[in-house]
Symmetry: C2
Subunit: 377 residues, 2 copies
Amino acid sequence: MKKYVFTPGPVPVPNEVLVEMAKPIIHHRTAEFEDIVKKVRDGLKYIFQTEQEVFILASSGTGAMEGAVANTLCRGDKVLVVNGGKFGERWGKIARAYGLKVEEIMVEWGRAVDPKIIETKLNDDPSIKAVLLQASETSTGVMHPTDKVAEITNKRDDVILIVDGITGVGVFPLPFDKLGIDVLVGGSQKAFMLPPGLAFASMSEKAWKFNETSDLPKFYFNFKDYLKSAEKNTTPWTPAVTLTIGLAEVLRNFREEGLENLHKRHQNLSHATREAFKAIGLEIYTKDQHSTALTAAIAPPEIGAANVIKGLKENFGMTVAGGQDEAKGKIFRVSHIGYIDKSDTVAIIAAVESTLKKLGHKFELGAGVAKAIEILD
Amino acid sequence: MKKYVFTPGPVPVPNEVLVEMAKPIIHHRTAEFEDIVKKVRDGLKYIFQTEQEVFILASSGTGAMEGAVANTLCRGDKVLVVNGGKFGERWGKIARAYGLKVEEIMVEWGRAVDPKIIETKLNDDPSIKAVLLQASETSTGVMHPTDKVAEITNKRDDVILIVDGITGVGVFPLPFDKLGIDVLVGGSQKAFMLPPGLAFASMSEKAWKFNETSDLPKFYFNFKDYLKSAEKNTTPWTPAVTLTIGLAEVLRNFREEGLENLHKRHQNLSHATREAFKAIGLEIYTKDQHSTALTAAIAPPEIGAANVIKGLKENFGMTVAGGQDEAKGKIFRVSHIGYIDKSDTVAIIAAVESTLKKLGHKFELGAGVAKAIEILD
């Protein structure tokens, strides 16, 4: 059976990129590879919309999240964590692992954080050094208002904004320099349509000031070493050579597609999927601003998400994501990131319709696909 | 021009493995991928010669080295570092980054550490908590006597032995359980003949006891999380899916080849290359026990290593490694790890002969190849 991946990472990788990565290996300390790193640096700056360096880490996104904390903060510092899902929770875990004091804003799953709460917390407690946020909370499909939060942190010299953009960068506008984000993290297996194994991070001038006094231990993820190496188009440690080569290819394609179109593509697929699901009577799990990286739908309770996921897998070879923690068994998540186009999106909507029909859900067959075609055309 | 990689990482990857990794991506939280992880766990235990778990990290080897320290030691602990090259030096840097007290045994480049010095140091200073060693010091081609050092640390309950086996595991015998190593680290782009991006680590019971009290911050490299996940044939963070799939393939081949043959292969290629180089009047840089991962040869001083390396690249498409730091410009290093067989080895020896002849080195052309064929046959 032909297989389709609609998970919010790993994502489908273009065949051309898979083939590029399957070429005979080259050594990383060569002019040839340095040329690739040079192109990747330029391409990442274009996508991150920054003049700062974007570091290429051989790790998954979590490693870059850890690096964001370890490179800026000090033992005992207090941080404000927005916890509105699985990945917000992870910020808290990382911060605690480093002996930081964690104040958490618990946000109901499916809801976005209210920036006013952040402002109040920062006003009330001047000892808070950083706000840790997801641009896109993948477990709930929410887009937190990074721009509004950045407006708040930008007014303060003593507070930085650390953003997990793992399912945000390349998906929707998140202009690093313009918004004034201080640390922004990305990952290869998301919008970058590569296998997992690479993570990215960028630091603002303000974050580098924090770095000067930061006393948390760091070695493999020491961004200062990456900065020094980047100037020579290399990395401090052996890079993930093949993934970096694939990245150069993807970034070349992104440049051709154009950043605006890249964002628009995700926006369209997300919009079409959401409206299609609504048209067949599904409730969307995300209550506030949607991340355009994925659509989180609530399965009809009498059917349950597990049956929908199973049906998609068995009859259509399609892998979608289930819910995590409190959303487990309740929702299924369809991703719009990676090498996915409008035809793939129509296909998954049709498969969801077919699966739901078989499972006894009542709706007008074809209504979802019709809605999607109307939007995607 | 056809290209050959003779560097001690990255190394040639078998085409069959490249193709395997170029297959359409699969999701990591699936029965299919869990089955791969199960096979990889078994295969790694076979190569590490251990009944302990071997963790699969999405990072380069340096990340696993950092993990080895962060998972066992405490702030302010004193460690004994064997610094006989670039990678020994790295142990010191990692330990210092974590606020450990570092006592270094400086070993002349090209020499192996004398285990007696380690014993004396441990006797003199009971506050030392760990010995940090390279099984194979890639910058000098030395094999340090891990077995003898393990005999010393095994006699003590309060000292662990942390071994960088990045160019040792799978190359020569380094039986984790039998020797009583406490933490052993490996990397994908070495004997495992994969692209860089995966690292491995195993911990002894004694190391796990140290882990109980270890207070160094760790998150991405927290081995306890990897242990918990391994039992469910998964990893705590998104794994480097394609590399892990390639690893399953490589480990299957290793099982067929057999561990003894795997070690013998490196032994033969190393022996043949060393004797061939001697036969054409080259001095070997490594003065004590040779690592069978690579051969480090001193270029004739009137020619210089840079010219040899350039000639191999330009006329034969062959990449070899130069020297680092104090060996820079002086030596060139030919690797025996990765997908390299006796014919490749004869080819590099012939290329070195041709290059040296053109550069004016006096020797009997063909003497090296003849010696190699004799040994490899």
